[in-house]
C-alpha cells in the first residue's frame, strides 16, 4: 500500500478505501476514525507491533506495518528494567 510520507496513517488508509480500523473490545463492532485530531480514541491500531496508536495523528513512514486492532491490544513491556 502506498501513501505520502508524513501524512497521518488514517488518511493514507482512507485514500485506499480502508475505513474500518479496528474492532471494539467487548462487542467487536467495526470502528473507524471520528475526530481526526487525536482526541477520541476511535482510530487505535497496531503499528509495528505497538497497540493503541492513534493513526489519525501518527505519521506514515515507509515500511510501517499497520494492523487492525482487536479489542484492547497487547502491551509488550521492555525486557530491561527502567
Amino acid at each position: 500500500m502506498e501513501g505520502f510520507e508524513g501524512e497521518p496513517i488514517a488518511a493514507a488508509l482512507h485514500a485506499a478505501g480502508i475505513r474500518v480500523l479496528r474492532e471494539s473490545p467487548v462487542l467487536g463492532r467495526p470502528r473507524g476514525f471520528f475526530c481526526a485530531v487525536g482526541n477520541c480514541s476511535s482510530c487505535l491500531m497496531v503499528v509495528d507491533g505497538v497497540p493503541n496508536v492513534r493513526v489519525c495523528v501518527e505519521k506514515l513512514r515507509a515500511g510501517m506495518r499497520v494492523e487492525r486492532q482487536k479489542g484492547k491490544g497487547e502491551l509488550k513491556w521492555p525486557q530491561s528494567p527502567c
Partner: protein
C-alpha cells in the same frame, strides 16, 4: 536546537491557533520572552483547514481565507526573536507547584520537558461534541471537523455522498467545502426550528441545491461494516422524534456538526474556578475582562474560554497576551492597547450575532453592551491604518 529539560519562560502560551498565536505576538511585541507550544507539526490550529473567507473587520483579517491567516500569523511567530515556538509538543499536565509537563517530539525524538512559566496563557481550543443514536460508531460517521481535516489538510475525499447534521456555521461551511471537493451533500438536518449559522452561509448552500431540514435529527445510522445510509426524522415541540416522518438518505459519510465544547482540562488541573455555561459550549474557566482566570497568572483565550469565532479568538488571545505581559512589569504602557482590544471585542460581540456570547459572558459577570459599541475597527478610511498590533 535541543530544548533544555527545564524551561522557565516569562510567558508560556499553550496552543498555537489564532488565539495562541495572537497572545504570543502581543506579549512578545511588548518585550516578553514567550514559549509557544502546540501538539501539531505546524502552527495555525483549526485555521490550517479553513479554506473559507473570514468575517469581522480588517483587524481580524476579514475577507482573508483561514489558511492564509494561518500562514501570515504562523510566519510571524516562527520568525519573532522573542517567541520560542515548540511544535509537535503535547502538554501533559499542570501541577500545583506551577509546573507544566510536556512530551515533545520537536526534533523527531520524544522528550519529556518541564516548564515553570511566570505567566501561563491557555489557548487549547475546543473539541467536537458527539451525538448519540444507534449506529453512531460506524466507520463513516465523523465529526465535521474531521471531514474538513481529511479534505482540506490531507487532500482525501471522505466519501461519495454525505449527510450533514447541524446548520450552525460549521455545518453550513463544511457542506459547501464538501461540494467543492465534489462530494455530494444529500441534505443538512438541524434539530432546532431555525438555522443557527449565518444566513449567507445557508443561502450559499441552498444555491447549490442542498436542502436544509430544520426540526430534524438522526434516528439511526445503517450499515454492516461501514456507513451505508442514515434515517432522519422530524422532532416535535418537545424534541421527540415523530414516527411516520422518517426520511432515509443513502450516504457513506455522516458529518456531525453539533457544537463544540471548550477543551478546558488544563484549567481544571490548575484549580481554576469553573462554571457550566451552555451559551459558551460547556464548562469554562471563570475569567475577568482581561482573560485572567481565578488563578492569578493563568489566562485563557480562544475557544477554551468559550466557543466563539476565530475573529474573537484573535482578539481574546491578544488581550490575554497583553495582560500576561503587563503583569510582568516590563515597563511598557499597556493601557491603550488593552483598551483597543476591549473595544474591538465589544464591537465584534455587539450585534445580534453576538447575543448568545453576551448572555454566556453575563454568567461570568462580564457585562458587554448590547447596543452597537463604536470601536476603532469601524472607523472611516482616514483612521483605517491605525489601531491593532
Amino acid at each position: 536546537m535541543a530544548p533544555k529539560s527545564l524551561l522557565t519562560p516569562p510567558v508560556m502560551v499553550i496552543g498555537a491557533g489564532p488565539a495562541g498565536m495572537s497572545a504570543a505576538l502581543a506579549a512578545a511585541d511588548c518585550g516578553a520572552e514567550v514559549l509557544l507550544c502546540d501538539s501539531f507539526s505546524e502552527p495555525g490550529g483549526q485555521l490550517v483547514k479553513q479554506t473559507h473567507k473570514f468575517f469581522g473587520s480588517r483587524q481580524q483579517f476579514a475577507g482573508v481565507r483561514g489558511i492564509e491567516i494561518a500562514r501570515l500569523l504562523g510566519d510571524k511567530v516562527a520568525s519573532h526573536p522573542r517567541i520560542h515556538l515548540l511544535l509537535d509538543t503535547h502538554v501533559l499536565g499542570y501541577y500545583p507547584d506551577g509546573m507544566v509537563t510536556m512530551e515533545s517530539a520537536a526534533d523527531g525524538v520524544a522528550r519529556y520537558l518541564k516548564a515553570r512559566p511566570r505567566r501561563l496563557v491557555v489557548c487549547s481550543g475546543a473539541a467536537e461534541k458527539p451525538l448519540a443514536f444507534p449506529g453512531n460508531d460506524l466507520p463513516g460517521v465523523y465529526g465535521a471537523g474531521a471531514v474538513q481535516t481529511l479534505m482540506n489538510l490531507h487532500g482525501v475525499k471522505p466519501g461519495r455522498r454525505a449527510l450533514m447534521v447541524g446548520a450552525g456555521n460549521i455545518g453550513l461551511i463544511i457542506s459547501y467545502q464538501l461540494r467543492q471537493a465534489k462530494v455530494e451533500v444529500a441534505a443538512v438536518v438541524e434539530a432546532a426550528s431555525a438555522i443557527g449559522g449565518y444566513a449567507v452561509h445557508a443561502s450559499k448552500i441552498r444555491r447549490l441545491g442542498i436542502p436544509i431540514h430544520t426540526s430534524h435529527t438522526v434516528k439511526r445510522a445503517h450499515g454492516t461494516r461501514e456507513l451505508e445510509g442514515v434515517t432522519v426524522w422530524r422532532l416535535d415541540g418537545q424534541g421527540r422524534g415523530i414516527p411516520g416522518t422518517e426520511m432515509r438518505f443513502e450516504v457513506d459519510v455522516l458529518c456531525l456538526a453539533v457544537g463544540l465544547s471548550p477543551a478546558a482540562e488544563l484549567l481544571w488541573l490548575a484549580g481554576c474556578r469553573m462554571l457550566y455555561v451552555p451559551e459558551l459550549g460547556g464548562h469554562v474557566p471563570w475569567h475577568d475582562e482581561v482573560q485572567q482566570t481565578s488563578v492569578p497568572g493563568i489566562f485563557v483565550a480562544g475557544d477554551a474560554a468559550g466557543v466563539e469565532e476565530a475573529s474573537s479568538a484573535m482578539v481574546t488571545g491578544r488581550m490575554a497576551g497583553l495582560a500576561a505581559a503587563a503583569s510582568l512589569d516590563l515597563g511598557a504602557d499597556f493601557r491603550v492597547k488593552l483598551e483597543e482590544a476591549r473595544l474591538e471585542l465589544a464591537s465584534l460581540r455587539a450585534g445580534p450575532a453576538g447575543e448568545k456570547i453576551r448572555r454566556g459572558l453575563e454568567r461570568l459577570n462580564l457585562g458587554v453592551p448590547a447596543s452597537g459599541a463604536r470601536g476603532p475597527v469601524s472607523s472611516t478610511r482616514a483612521q483605517a491604518s491605525g489601531g491593532g498590533s
